[in-house]
Symmetry: C2
Subunit: 379 residues, 2 copies
């Protein structure tokens, strides 16, 4: 709850910016016009050199910090890191947090009306990639008068966007903050995404992605996808500590209902997600993850990709993260040092698996704060 | 193919044994009559002291070794370990391999006709546990005139049955061979099962388990469940080595079809499984896994459970198995040594994850063979 806490950005409201300039996408298709919904915290200084771009991961959106109403139970997804006196200190920085193209929370996506057909895009919404998002975010930066981000920051898929910014626009980013991320998905990562998509696409309510026309939603498939995703966000240890083999009721029922607490938790998580998130967007986001592979154009040589990069890097990973393990961050670090780039890397002890980048942890917050405090900005 | 190879049990045929004695199950329900389908290899000696019970895991059945026809492409599921001169040497041992109660390949299960209703049991088939299976296998042993198994052996869920035999019938088993197994599921293990069940049960063709009546099959749900299961059987490394990010076609298509080899492989695995396996049986098997927890009756003290055990133990685990990691086997070993039982434990280097117990590997086969060779049997 908002209460009287002093280190929150307080009440915030998303803003919408409309773009009429067509965006050519990596898949070869074009989006003729689109809206970018974003939130902004803090104040852009005169030289516009204190702006931070925050990039969201698979299931989050533009609401990164603060509250939408006095009654909100939870703040934005990265509120532990964004606010007055926090790692991304809104007393110093101007923070911009957009929803990505393809999203379902305001920015143009599958649920938006395609001006050509006057119907929702649905499955005709083109596949978007991390590189497309970075181009799209660049348009927003230009419109806001931000020639160079003091930093681009994100965790997981958000970290991939920070990485891509450094590669794509070397002069438009001074620092890249890449947390709990990876230079590309492994076969196992792709496999989990494939199962999630299979669950959604085989739900009869999916109607090949045209469920809006049938006034239905593939909640069953999306629920399965999210339950599965959730397992990969948590560590085995954390699940053990939190649930173990605790029963939902006092004794075993020997039926197919919920028997263990962990089942109950997963079902709840799956259901609440399925009720708020759009299935076509979920598909798009998993594909963006699959396709991300900046080293592909250099035959897998990531250090070659980093040759022209000018940004300094802060990378962090978490010991029990098995979705994007510390090893995956070290691949990026190693390529950066091979390319003689400036990089700080820290591996934090945490029990929270991949979700650790969203969880309060003194060592992590302190190190992140220290790095951000050393970023120079004019008054 | 069968060919002229000398170390195969050759052509085999399953046998069916009918039981009219009611079996009281752990869930409180009773199965009044049932068939046990099993295969047997080798010859029971005069003293009946050379019999080995082989217990199958989640998706296998009674067909553990040899071929059903000259044209079979693959032998039984543990053919690498069962045959003349193999680890379970059919020149010395008489091997019995039943399908468990609840299965879909002959032994009585949800697809069988319930004599009370003259219709398939479907979802009314009672939940069965590892302990129930062991009781059921005991009936088979009694009928075959086997008072004591030289060994009970299995991998994964099969290893749990070997463990339960040692606990349940201390005088009826001399050796327990427990490979790639665990003393109980972790919260993460249960979570994966819960997602698999959710996928099956939310398939509209499931009809609350009564799909036989509707002449349909929940293949979509079963396919998702199997794709997911398959990921947990393979190691991250093995998937990386086998598939990496190799594309199915020469270039990216930017659509929701199969893009990567690993997706193609998983879909194929899921489909072929969904076409041969019964969904109700799959649900039952995952529940048997969830419920297995022999230490529960001793408030989690596994060593207390082992106090009355007389069997000697051979345990093995594989380095990249993340479904039942070596740590899980060590929990069993530790409890056995605390209870001062006789135990051999080996951890094998393998890239094959949980599936390693089904894969040729010299160190594993040699150690398993050595252990089995030391089991004394009369002529």
């Amino acid at each position: 709850m908002l209460n009287n806490s002093t280190n929150t950005v307080g009440l915030v409201a998303p803003q919408t910016m409309h773009f009429d300039e067509a965006l050519m996408l990596e898949c070869g298709k074009t989006i003729e016009q689109y809206d970018i919904v974003y939130e902004a915290y803090g104040r852009l200084n005169e030289k516009a050199d204190n702006a931070i771009l925050v990039c969201h991961a698979l299931s989050a959106d533009h609401h990164a910090a603060g509250y939408h109403s006095e009654n909100d139970k939870k703040p934005g997804w990265w509120d532990i890191c964004i606010g007055p006196g926090k790692a991304i200190d809104t007393n110093r920085f101007f923070v911009v947090s957009p929803s990505n193209l393809g999203h379902c929370s305001g920015s143009t996506g599958p649920r938006s009306i395609d001006p050509k057909t006057a119907k929702a895009y649905g499955p005709d919404f083109p596949i978007v990639t991390v590189r497309d998002w970075v181009k799209y975010q660049k348009r927003l930066a230009d419109r806001l008068g931000i020639k160079q981000w003091a930093a681009v920051a994100g965790g997981s898929l958000g970290g991939m966007q920070a990485l891509q910014w450094a590669i794509e626009y070397p002069d438009a980013i001074r620092h890249a903050v890449v947390i709990a991320s990876a230079p590309k998905l492994s076969a196992q990562n792709i496999a989990f995404n494939a199962v999630a998509r299979q669950a959604i696409m085989s739900d009869p309510s999916f109607y090949d992605g045209r469920y809006y026309d049938y006034d239905t939603v593939p909640t069953s498939g999306l629920k399965v996808a999210r339950m599965l995703g959730h397992i990969t966000y948590l560590s085995d240890d954390a699940m053990g500590d939190k649930f173990g083999r605790a029963l939902k009721n006092e004794q075993l029922n020997y039926n197919y209902g919920v028997e263990f607490e962990v089942e109950s938790y997963l079902r709840y998580q799956g259901e609440s997600f399925a009720n708020r998130f759009d299935a076509n967007t979920y598909l798009l986001m998993t594909k963006a993850l699959d396709y991300f592979d900046p080293a592909a154009k250099e035959n897998g040589d990531l250090s070659a990709v980093f040759e022209k990069v000018k940004a300094k890097f802060f990378l962090a990973s978490f010991t029990t993260d098995w979705r994007f393990s510390p090893e995956r961050s070290r691949e990026i670090v190693s390529a950066l040092t091979d390319a003689k780039r400036d990089v700080s890397y820290l591996e934090f002890e945490s029990n929270h698996g991949h979700d650790a980048f969203l969880v309060e942890n003194d060592d992590y917050i302190d190190a992140f704060s220290a790095y951000m405090n050393n970023i120079e900005v004019s008054k």
